[in-house]
Amino acid sequence: MTTTQDATQATALAILDALCARLIEAEAELNALDRAVGDGDHGHNLARAANALLAIRDELAPLSVPEMLKRAGKAVVMSVGGASGPLYGTLLLEQGKGLPEGEASRADWARAFTLAVEGVARRGKSAEGEKTMLDVLGPAARAFEGAVDQDFASALAALSQAAVDGHLHCRGLHASRGRAAYVGERSVGQDDPGATTAMICVQLVAAKLAEGAA
């Protein structure tokens, strides 16, 4: 059986560091995506989130993983002024709330991830198919929950693959939510910035966990 061993505090902190570094690095690239379909600030918004998390890293370090996720979610909400701030903040917050306080099984993690994605949809009053981060997060959560009884490496591979597939499918969608909706039909064929960050993050988390599991 897997336990929280898979995601001890140390693992969680390592993932946090990697995510923050990756988002800060991707700022210009993500701004460019958002310039095509939105207002050009998505990279800036997520770099702000990353810097806000790094600024409270010492505060996060001693927390249990659920508490760490909740605290991180609040920091993201408070630091990002764009639509993605409260949405990614909700994802972290609900993931934290969805985990049991003690040891969490892999099934617990998968369930909490699904609930967190549902929380994002509620918060954004949105659903899959509207060309947003949900078109990556939704398939990713389903794939992970569906593969939860397979060996860990396979489950992670399924998670990662679903994120990539969701991102690709999202490219062909017509935006009807968020600022990208303003460009309507013209958004077809363009990547949604939030879906792109969702894919980047899911892939990175899967890769880090796979390293730890190997």
Binding site: A83, G85, P86, R123
Partner: protein, 128 residues
């Protein structure tokens, strides 16, 4: 007592100007709060700043919030959910355009409308 109005825009200029227009319609007595800009001062909204304004203008007759686009609504919802539940019950976010809705809401609030009436007045803009 009257319903208070909170104006939340991505732009601090839009928020300030909209509040000035609402004030002109409502007269001097209405509680009108406004906030705009992200935590760094650029275009965006700040959940913390919204929460502060809500706290400053909240009264038992309630608060109607007017928002512009995208995250302004989401951040406002999160700020409302952070309030004590009995206070949050008396706060509503209008599905209305910011400037036009704020003027309608301010007029209705100043003439003694209930929270439901103020929200309806703002949302009527959308029905032309």
């Amino acid at each position: 007592m009257t319903v208070a109005i909170l104006i939340v825009s991505h732009s601090v200029d839009v928020a300030r100007g909209t509040a000035e227009m609402a004030r002109r319609t409502a007269g001097p007595d209405l509680a009108i709060g406004w906030t705009g800009g992200n935590p760094a001062g650029g275009l965006g909204t700040s959940m913390g700043a919204i929460a502060e304004q809500l706290d400053a203008i909240w009264g038992p007759d309630g608060v109607a919030i007017l928002v512009d686009v995208g995250g302004a609504e989401t951040n406002s919802e999160m700020a409302v959910e952070e309030m004590a539940p009995d206070k949050a019950k008396r706060v509503r976010i209008c599905q209305a355009p910011l400037v036009e809705g704020a003027i309608m809401a301010a007029a209705e609030a100043a003439s003694g409308g209930t929270l439901d009436q103020v929200v309806s007045a703002a949302e009527e803009v959308m029905r032309g």
